[in-house]
Symmetry: C2
Subunit: 93 residues, 2 copies
C-alpha cells in the first residue's frame, strides 16, 4: 500500500528527516522508519481524522485569503496603471 503516497521526490509528510504531520515534528532518520511511524502514530483513527479535517480548513482559509489579497493587488496595480511583473522585478533587483 505504500506506493499510494510515495513519489519520486520522497513524501510530502517527510522533509529534512522531520515528520510534517501537523503538530508532530518527530525527527526520524530513515525513510523506512518514517513509513513505520506514519502507519503507527498517524494511523486512521479519530485523532488523525480530526487533524486532517483541520488541515482541510487551513487550506480553505488560505484560499480565501489569497483570493482577497490577489484581488486587492490587481486593483492596486490597475489603479497605478503599472504591471505587477514590472513592479516585482524592480523589487527583487
Amino acid at each position: 500500500m505504500f506506493d499510494i503516497f510515495i513519489n519520486n521526490k520522497g513524501h510530502d509528510l517527510y522533509h529534512n528527516e522531520i515528520c510534517q504531520w501537523p503538530g508532530c515534528e518527530t525527527k526520524i532518520k530513515t525513510f523506512d522508519e518514517f513509513l513505520r511511524h506514519l502507519n503507527t502514530d498517524h494511523k486512521l483513527d479519530d485523532r488523525s481524522t480530526a487533524q486532517t479535517r483541520v488541515q482541510i480548513q487551513v487550506v480553505s482559509i488560505l484560499e480565501s485569503q489569497l483570493l482577497k489579497e490577489r484581488q486587492r493587488m490587481i486593483a492596486m496595480t490597475k489603479h497605478l496603471q503599472v504591471s505587477p511583473v514590472k513592479l516585482f522585478r524592480c523589487f527583487t533587483l
Copy 2:
C-alpha cells in the same frame, strides 16, 4: 480613466464604505468620494508604489503557503485513504 478599475460589483478597494488600500481603512460615505480619495491619497508616487510592491509580496507568500499546506493536506488524505470532500462534508454537517 475611472472605467479601468470600476466593475459591476463596485471596486475591490472599496468595501462597506471603507477604503481597502493596505493600511488606509478610511471611512468614506460615497463611491464618488472614494474615487476622489483614491486619486488623491493613493496616487502614483513612491509610497503607493512601495505599498503595491509589498502587496505583491504578500500574495507571493500566501501562494507559497497555500501550495505547501495543500500538498500536506493531499498527503494526509492519501495516507488515511479518505476523500477530502467527504471529510469536509462530515466536518460542516
